[in-house]
């Protein structure tokens, strides 16, 4: 097999996008844009990690918010209890990831043996339990009221935090890209396509599914840590169902089973949320903009189950295919080979 060069068209496009995004804060003065883009990066990371489960392994999890929440709370509590320095923040990210890894490992081991819908419900129940713990453990979490804390000195400047979030996004994207292409990632895709067949080929599917769920949990925890620092405030809403729903919506609308899809979905939803809630000030009808989302989402599930990216790449593939067959047919018309193609034009 030919070893592919790193400078493919898509990689070049991503590099250009990354550079443009990195330049934005130096060109634009708008604080709102900066904050909005930072939110998109954070939720992009979350949605990508969710897609690792939904799109690549074919598991529907309703408990993703608990890992997001664990990351957010770990960072917030540690920054609040000790001093707010970069070192503590880095350690808190690592601690959050470790906690999420341990939790997702045990949850996965216990529940991934079950059928898909039982898994969905069990994760829903367990994340409900974690939410109850967060609400009741008031000495640590201050319950539903939440608490504010000081962000590290380095991040007082919004621009620095913007660049940091962008860097995290790019690193996670590259890691995921490598992971999906690796033999391990291939097995995950095989599990999604046909679990029984993968199992009968000798792969222990449970192990692979647990690996996917641990990876997704760890990355979701990173997104949570970033989210807490971006708000400088944390309360139990970081563990609520809404976060999981957001991740789900972003993944579905952007395109399941692609890495760029969830990013695009995050961008679309955050922008729409921002502008529609801005419109609500003038037109009260937009106050319930969630309805519009719900309807778009239902239509997307029925008509575009592959999302924006999936549908586009399918169309592109069909178009390329057509051009290719047209070119081939043209060659064959010059020298018609007898007996290779039948009347319907299908190849034998």
């Amino acid at each position: 097999m030919k070893r592919q060069s790193i400078f493919t068209t898509s990689n070049t496009v991503f590099c250009v996008m990354a550079v443009i995004l990195a330049i934005v804060p130096f060109v634009s003065d708008s604080r709102t844009t900066l904050i909005l883009l930072t939110q998109i990066f954070i939720f992009g990371i979350l949605a990508m990690s969710y897609d690792m489960l939904l799109g690549y392994t074919g598991i529907v999890s309703f408990g993703h918010a608990m890992f997001f929440g664990i990351g957010a709370y770990t960072s917030a509590i540690m920054l609040n209890m000790y001093e707010s320095t970069m070192a503590i923040f880095t350690i808190s990210i690592a601690v959050g990831m470790l906690l999420s890894a341990v939790l997702s490992f045990f949850v996965g081991l216990l529940t991934l043996r079950l059928k898909s819908h039982y898994y969905a419900m069990l994760t829903l129940a367990i994340s409900g339990l974690v939410l109850v713990v967060a609400e009741k453990w008031r000495t640590m979490t201050k319950g539903n009221d939440g608490f504010t804390f000081r962000a590290p000195e380095f991040f007082r400047d919004r621009m620095m935090f913007y660049l940091f979030a962008l860097a995290c996004l790019i690193v996670i994207y590259i890691i995921f890209k490598r992971f999906v292409g690796s033999p391990l990632g291939r097995v995950l895709i095989a599990v999604r396509e046909n679990e029984q067949r993968t199992a009968s080929l000798g792969y222990k599917t449970l192990h692979y599914k647990v690996i996917a769920s641990v990876l997704a949990g760890v990355v979701a925890s990173l997104a949570g840590s970033l989210y807490a620092v971006s708000l400088r405030f944390v309360n139990t809403s970081v563990m609520s169902m809404d976060i999981t729903l957001d991740a789900l919506l972003m993944t579905i609308i952007g395109g399941v089973g692609t890495l760029i899809g969830p990013l695009l979905g995050a961008a679309v939803i955050e922008f729409a949320q921002h502008y529609l809630s801005g419109l609500a000030r003038d037109y009260p009808i937009f106050e319930r903009w969630i309805i519009i989302f719900g309807i778009i989402y239902i239509l997307a599930v029925i008509f575009f189950p592959r999302g924006i990216v999936g549908t586009l790449s399918q169309k592109l593939g069909e178009w390329k295919m057509k051009r290719k067959t047209a070119a081939v047919e043209e060659t064959f018309q010059k020298v018609p080979p007898p007996g290779i193609a039948d009347e319907s034009g299908e190849w034998k």
């Binding site: 074919g58 529907v60 069990l122 129940a125 009741k136 719900g294 029925i302 189950p305």
Partner: protein
Amino acid sequence: MELIISLIINGLATGMLIFLLAAGVTLIFGLMDVLNFAHGGLFVWGAYSGIFAYAATESFTIGILIALLTGAVLGFITEKLIITPVYGNHVQQILITLGFMIVLSECIKVVFGPNGIPVSVPPLLAGSWEVGNIIIIKYRIFIIAAGFIIYGVFHYILTKTKIGLIVRAGVMNREMVQALGINIKRVFLYVFMVGAALASLGGVLMAPYSGVIYAEMGMEYAILGFIVVVIGGMGSYSGTLFAAILVGLAGSFMAYYVPYLSLAVNMIIMVIVLVFRPQGLFTVAKG
């Protein structure tokens, strides 16, 4: 002793409320194998429309009837628009009905306003009896009775009548029943409508019990309904009743003895049951 009896009555009443909600879920999820996360939305619509009619006409009976009607109509719409394209595909079902759930509960906020609405118990059922030192609230007895009646009716229909036979046969083998000349699509549509109407009934009966209704209650109670169906075992009506009572009693005793665990007790029961007996406590053998 008095304490234990009161706790049992409270637990039974809560269990029956959960059963009323779960009865619809059992039909739709347990028998038809459709994961309808919009069930909570139907529940809230039942509660709001029923209470709206009750407030307008001063008659709780009319409120219940309106709730049943709303449930059936919404069930019709849901089945036709949302469920039909995704029969047999669980992941798609979860995703699409979740979207519909969002639409339903946001529509509640548009029509009835985003704030909770206080509800009073109908005068006939208000108040309580005193037996010795035990205070028995009338509405709780009413709910317990309603739960047992619903259970009896459905148990009878499903096991003793021809309609029940067709439904059970359709669940086992759709194509076969279709081949025998029965329009199984229409039968499933009716079953779905009945399930939705049951969800609405649960909603309107729940309203005076909890004293206030709000748009988010749908999701909370729908989760409870699913938990109960999963604990009881898919498709088993008696299992659902048993699990509902178990969850209700456990909740009521926990709330008294270990209050900080009371919110988590349902989840804990479900986790234990699913880990050790994934098929549920009672299971119906399926062909």
